[in-house]
Amino acid sequence: MSFSVTAPSPAARWIAGLLVALYAIVTLLPLAWIIATGFKSPADAIAYPPKVLFEPSLEGYVNLFTTRTRIAEADFAALPPPGTWYEEIVRDQGMVIAGPSRYGERFLNSVIIGFGSTALCMVLGTAAAYAFSRFRVPLKDDLMFFILSTRMMPPIAVAIPIFLMFRQIGLNDTHLGMILLYTAVNLSLSVWLLKGFIDEIPVEYEEAALIDGYTRFQAFRKVVLPQAATGIASTAIFCLIFAWNEYAFAVLLTSGTAQTAPPFIPTIIGTGGKDWPAVAAGATIFLVPVMVFTILLRKHLLRGITFGAVRK
């Protein structure tokens, strides 16, 4: 294959820029709409024609984190004036705060399960990839193919057997169960991606460390790991995004203690009428951790995605 390396013409640059901008608008518009909806009043949220300009309100966020109740009018009138700004927002709706909602817990569950499974996946994946990359493993190719084959069907196809298994061994609705499940689903991708990255690290670095007096494990930790950081970071992002966004298994396998945010957010609609601002607020907050994680690791991610594209 041959590639031309002439600089693109100004017209080509313009077209390319335009296409990128267009794509950015198409992908960012729904996101912007969700974020905006989170700050609308319920009436503005369902107004027709849709409102682009509106008076911002924190009602959605307050409703997301609280449960509210109506009380008898006489009692309502007899209440002392609201002590906090969020109490005031609830009072304006003619209701009083009954307690905190479960969103906080569900969000925390998402964090524990998402980051927990990602971390476990990185530990196991890096170890397996290193072994496959460096040692003479019997039936290496067959094993690698077997690992890949676990990802050849959509994971949800085995939802029923997993549900039955989990129920049998008591993993239903537990953090551990969800961490194990997401780790298992992500592991094949991790092993394959990481093996590619580790294959690219010349084995001489470790050999030099072995001769310099380090054990195999020290050489792995001090020489291989720092150089595999790019690969580990980009693989971790892929794993986290999957575990964070996963919906189907979460609906099926969690209901109480270990429920993550994705199955919880839609249930808001059932409890307080069609409270779209609260749903949008929940979705907005839910976006933040993955965004922060991705931004923190973006340098690695970019290098990771283009890895191996350029012959050195």
Binding site: P202, E204, A208, I211, D212, G213, T215
Partner: protein
């Protein structure tokens, strides 16, 4: 510093034998060359000395201690890789200090040693630089620095100049040899470049197909090759081979090439069948009166000498002659060989027949 002794070393990779039954000794303080074409087992041999591969059988002694099955970290040797293998996430100073830190040396002391090594190699100004931006020669110096800083028992080098461009190679080879002479360190150096081996080595082992073909000082190997392979691999242009059928017996001091009788050193063993007469290009004289005839087909001008290629009834012969000697392509002439320098090979086994001249060299090879 230490002597390295290799005994009956063998390495199999599955059904492939990389090294079979190698034995040789590297004396204390020697600059020792492992020479051979690619795939001959020289790098595998070196890696077994380092502990990066474990031998299938045989033993390796470093400084009198059997280390064949010990891990690399316990052998107290240094290894210089062809691609240098500098740790890319550390700067020059930390790269050189790395082997010291692994031994638990206090940082202040390590820094002093690194500074000392940097002075020897002339890279004091580079210690804070990242290794990424260094030139090939400086990388090589840093790799050497990492090797010498620990004062190991021996240096093992795997084609350390292979990654440098030709011009710089020469310079680095001199530097390397000078460094060795100053430190007196036992050095084992792998190369496929016979010129490099002849230039730098105190002693050379020539390997082929996993077997040690010959082992000795450069001049012995050049003058008295033990096998046809060594004769062809060393020297540029290589030794000329004249194949003939016949028989020689013990005590004979000439061979018959057709009608021409050619004087050779007195043979101490006999052979019959396919034989080969070996003669170095610089030992061929062009003499119209000589009975062994050939036709000049080409000349190559090389400054002070020229290479004259001739066709004879027994194969092509290249002669190194002074440039002043008038030679004309197409001319028929006689070829005269310097009798004291010839070797006779058994063409079937490839082995040189023992004669008065090569007896001593072959006795320990």
């Amino acid at each position: 510093m230490a002597q390295i002794r290799i005994e009956n070393l063998r390495k199999d990779f599955g059904s492939f034998t990389a090294v079979r039954s190698s034995s040789f000794t590297v004396e204390d303080g020697e600059f020792f060359m492992l020479l051979g074409p690619s795939g001959c087992g020289k790098t595998t041999t070196l890696r077994m000395m380092a502990g990066l591969e474990l031998p299938t059988s045989g033993s390796i002694h470093i400084g009198g201690e059997e280390v064949g099955m010990k891990p690399a970290s316990q052998r107290d040797i240094a290894f210089v890789f062809q691609m240098f293998a500098l740790y890319p996430h550390m700067n020059v100073g930390r790269n050189i200090a790395y082997p010291l830190i692994s031994q638990g040396m206090p940082r202040a002391e390590a820094r002093k040693k690194v500074a000392e090594v940097a002075r020897i190699l002339g890279i004091e100004g580079l210690l804070d630089r990242p290794v990424g931006g260094l030139s090939g020669g400086d990388r090589q110096r840093v790799a050497l620095g990492r090797a010498i800083v620990r004062r190991p028992k021996a240096f093992l080098m795997d084609e350390p100049l292979g990654a440098l461009d030709a011009e710089f190679r020469e310079h680095m080879a001199e530097e390397l040899r000078a460094l060795h002479d100053r430190m007196g360190a036992t050095t084992v150096y792998v190369t496929h470049d016979q010129l490099e081996a002849m230039q730098m080595g105190d002693k050379i082992v020539v390997m082929n197909h996993g077997v040690v073909e010959q082992f000795g000082v450069p001049q012995q190997i050049y003058d008295w090759p033990a096998t046809r392979f060594v004769a062809a691999f060393i020297g540029s242009p290589p030794m000329n081979f004249l194949d003939f059928e016949g028989a020689v017996h013990e005590g004979q001091d000439r061979v018959e090439l057709g009608t021409a009788a050619i004087a050779v050193p007195r043979l101490l063993e006999g052979a019959r069948g396919a034989l080969t007469l070996g003669v170095r290009p610089e030992h061929v004289r062009l003499d119209d009166a000589a009975p062994f005839r050939g036709e000049v087909i080409a000349t190559e001008y090389l400054g002070t000498t020229q290479i004259v290629t001739l066709d004879t009834a027994f194969g092509r012969v290249r002669a190194r002659r002074p440039s002043a000697e008038p030679v004309r392509p197409g001319a028929r002439t006689g070829l005269d060989f310097d009798a004291r320098t010839l070797s006779v090979f058994n063409a079937t086994t490839g082995r040189a027949l023992v004669s008065d001249a090569n007896r001593e060299v072959l006795a320990h090879g």
